[in-house]
Amino acid sequence: MHKKISELLLRSAVILELKAQEKNAAIQELTAPLIAEGLVSDEAEFIAAILRRENLESTGIGSGVAIPHARTNAVKDAVLAFGRSNAGVDFSSLDGKPSQLIFLIAAPEAMKREYIWTLAKLSSLLRREEVRTGLLNAQTADEVYAVVERYERL
């Protein structure tokens, strides 16, 4: 049984106002809480793994959403971080739009099924306009959780 998105989302990694204005800085900002919580054991390796993928493909899925992700042994357990940027960050989305909603997925190498499922579930959720609007309007971390919990049940 897979964990829900709301169960994977780390509360201390919900950042409603990302300071970063470009991709690498946004990834670092979202990674910092995972390191603080001891979920990433090797920061340099984890960020390198994320950037290897970013250099090969766009993780901006369009409509102002990006899902940078990596599966590496620098991660101890599957976890999600969320950041929101009012100005948006360029994740080279195919639709050319900057990403305002950024979910970072980290998983250990061995958790391939969980990792793919999480990517699929999250991508599916974020294609819904009402989910994106809810996340853009959320005032607190609790409201972010409420939006995710409400729509992942459907």
Binding site: R53, L56, E57, S58, I61, R71, L94, K112, I116, W117, L119, A120, K121, S123, S124, R127, L154
Partner: protein, 131 residues
């Protein structure tokens, strides 16, 4: 010279085998893949739950292919569209200008329609018994 390949995906073993072949081919030619999955349009209010499950399955197929491409160091972009399959495929061809299109021979799309409507050469990948 083949720089861009449009790969048609669905939730079938034949399409996954076609994806593996396409990734190997793209690696040998340093080409970029656009992986396209088209969901049929359905009435949203009546079938929201079913749509959600179908969409998650589609994304799973796309991300499994992305993961394989990443392992092979092949550049890939994922596209999930909704609507009439042939129309969406034709539109994506127009937008991304692939050099070739790869389709599983077992696809429900008619080979004749694909060849007639698509502006680029189409490769039909037939599932090998050993796949």
């Amino acid at each position: 010279m083949i720089n861009q390949i449009l790969l048609w995906l669905d939730n079938s073993p034949a399409a996954r085998a076609a994806a593996s072949w396409t990734i190997a081919f793209a690696r040998s030619t340093s080409a970029r893949i656009y992986a396209l999955y088209v969901l049929p349009a359905t009435a949203k209010s009546r079938r929201e739950k079913r749509n959600s499950v179908q969409e998650e399955q589609a994304w799973q197929v796309l991300y499994e292919v992305e993961d394989e491409a990443f392992d092979q160091q092949v550049r890939i972009s994922l596209l999930l569209e909704t609507g009439d399959p042939l129309s969406r495929l034709t539109e994506v061809c127009t937008s991304y200008q692939p050099d070739i299109i790869v389709v599983s021979a077992d696809t429900l799309l008619s080979a004749e329609s694909l060849i007639r409507h698509l502006p680029k050469p189409v490769i039909f990948y037939k599932l090998d018994k050993e796949d």
